[in-house]
Amino acid sequence: MNIAHIREQFPALHQKVHGKPLVYLDNGATSQKPKMVLDVLQEMEGKINGNIHRAVHYLSAQCTERYEKARTVVKDFLNADSEDEIIFTSGTTASLNLLAFSFGQTYVRPGDRIIVTEAEHHSNIVPWQMMCQRTGALLEIWEVDDTGALDPKKLEQILDKSEEVPKLLAITHISNVLGLVNPLAEIIQIAHYYNVPVAVDGAQGIVHKKVDVRSLDADFYAFSGHKLYGPTGTGVLYGKVKYLEEMAPWQGGGDMIETVSLRKGTTYAQPPLKFEAGTANFIGIAGLGAAIEFINGLNIKLIEDHENEITQKAIEALGQIDGCKILGIPGTYYGKTYEKIPVFSMTIEGAHPSDIATLLDRMGIAVRSGMLCAEPLLERFGITSVLRASFALYNTLEELDFFVESLKKVLKILR
């Protein structure tokens, strides 16, 4: 199987926008879906539809089976210990909000500290700020350096600062701006040495790296289905069972209870159901299962080589554009190798990202411009907006060339 074959399975890639063939380079925001996923959604919406975990009838049983099968698929994909560690949510943001609420409720007291890095997406900042407001905890910032890399020594300084160790480190696997792969295993090791659990924002990480939560020893790992070639409105929170058993539930409702009594009070179900109140997006989750099975069917080595080639060539080609500065350059920082996924955020002297993106759109190219939901990181670099081209496994080298050539044309108009 080659990239052309893979492309054929994504109907959305074969359309024109503004009369030009679509070149979709906004995969960091959301990915297109393969036919395998679309078929599952259509079949279930149109036919195999019955509420899960409730009734004895055929359709309900079918849907429950598919929903729970997706849990097994996700468990295997992450190499988790058991299905009980896989909570289905509506996306990374929901996963992180759930975690911030439930973890905060159970473990965090006034004066406690929570660490976040400066390179986080707003989704991995704001829920923690809100948790701090609720609990009276304090947010500690692990700052990035001028290249965007994180110095482990700074983490140790924060961890060493007082007798009371922080309650949690929340960190992204891969920043959606920089595209640099954080050396998670080492970082988690440091945190665990101080008995600090680690919550990972895997929204970008899960898409581009093989994630093994057991060998990483991550305590929590959150991701979205829609960036992983799956349906919108689906997500996962992986959590170690020892935490999930202790943590208070987030939302209350059906499915998350054991018994409900108006007089004696309510007892909760075991995880994961304890954290899945109400009718889940079971059709979407079945689609997420299909997306992961689609990925499992691909030659991962081929995909990785392909993405690495795009990354190398893009850095070379963009580097030749006068005044173009890419944020997040792969290399060795603090003795660790930082790889880069094909996500290229850049500033270009004399041209504003929103102008560039507007003109590229007219040429059929979809890219992002703006703050990328990472205002603190942009502020750190003293900028207010970037242009981002983010590639997926179905993007070709020809598309990269076309993007670079079109960018040059646009810059001629703008500068």
Binding site: S354, T358, R362
Partner: protein, 141 residues
């Protein structure tokens, strides 16, 4: 020229342009021609919220008329605000508040802006109207 006449003139100019690349290039030209605001006027107060790029709108009142100046760090946006400045600058608050703003739809600008952009444009117009409203309340003509 009245606000209505100015709008008609813009609509006519755009009608000669066939494709949207031409229209954007025209907006970029307008953006370049708009004199930049000095840093002292690029204040938080003059910053318009809800735009993808930063946009500042400054207003001065002279002889009962409002004079607008604007700037943006993005050129196309600057071109768009330049249209607003051309249309609204030099008119009385009453004229501004009574104006029927039709040129944006007539040149197809709204449908060719992404919704985030269109929201930004709306915020700019609202800000202009707010200034006019404040001025007319202060000193009803």
């Amino acid at each position: 020229m009245t606000i209505k006449d100015k709008q008609a003139q813009i609509v006519e100019e755009f009608s000669f342009m066939e494709d949207w690349m031409d229209k954007y290039e025209y907006l970029i030209e307008l953006g370049r021609k708009l004199p930049p605001l000095e840093d002292a006027s690029k204040t938080e107060k003059n910053l318009i919220k809800g735009c993808q790029s930063r946009v500042w709108l400054d207003v001065k009142r002279e002889d009962g008329r409002l004079y607008f100046r604007a700037d943006s760090d993005a050129l196309i946006t600057k071109g768009i605000v330049s249209l607003l400045v051309i249309v609204f600058s030099g008119h009385t608050p009453r004229e501004i508040l009574d104006a029927d703003i039709s040129f944006i739809d007539q040149i197809g600008l709204r449908e060719h802006l992404s919704p985030t952009r269109a929201n930004g444009l709306l915020s700019m117009i609202r800000q202009i109207q707010m200034y006019a409203l404040a001025a007319s309340a202060e000193n009803p003509a």
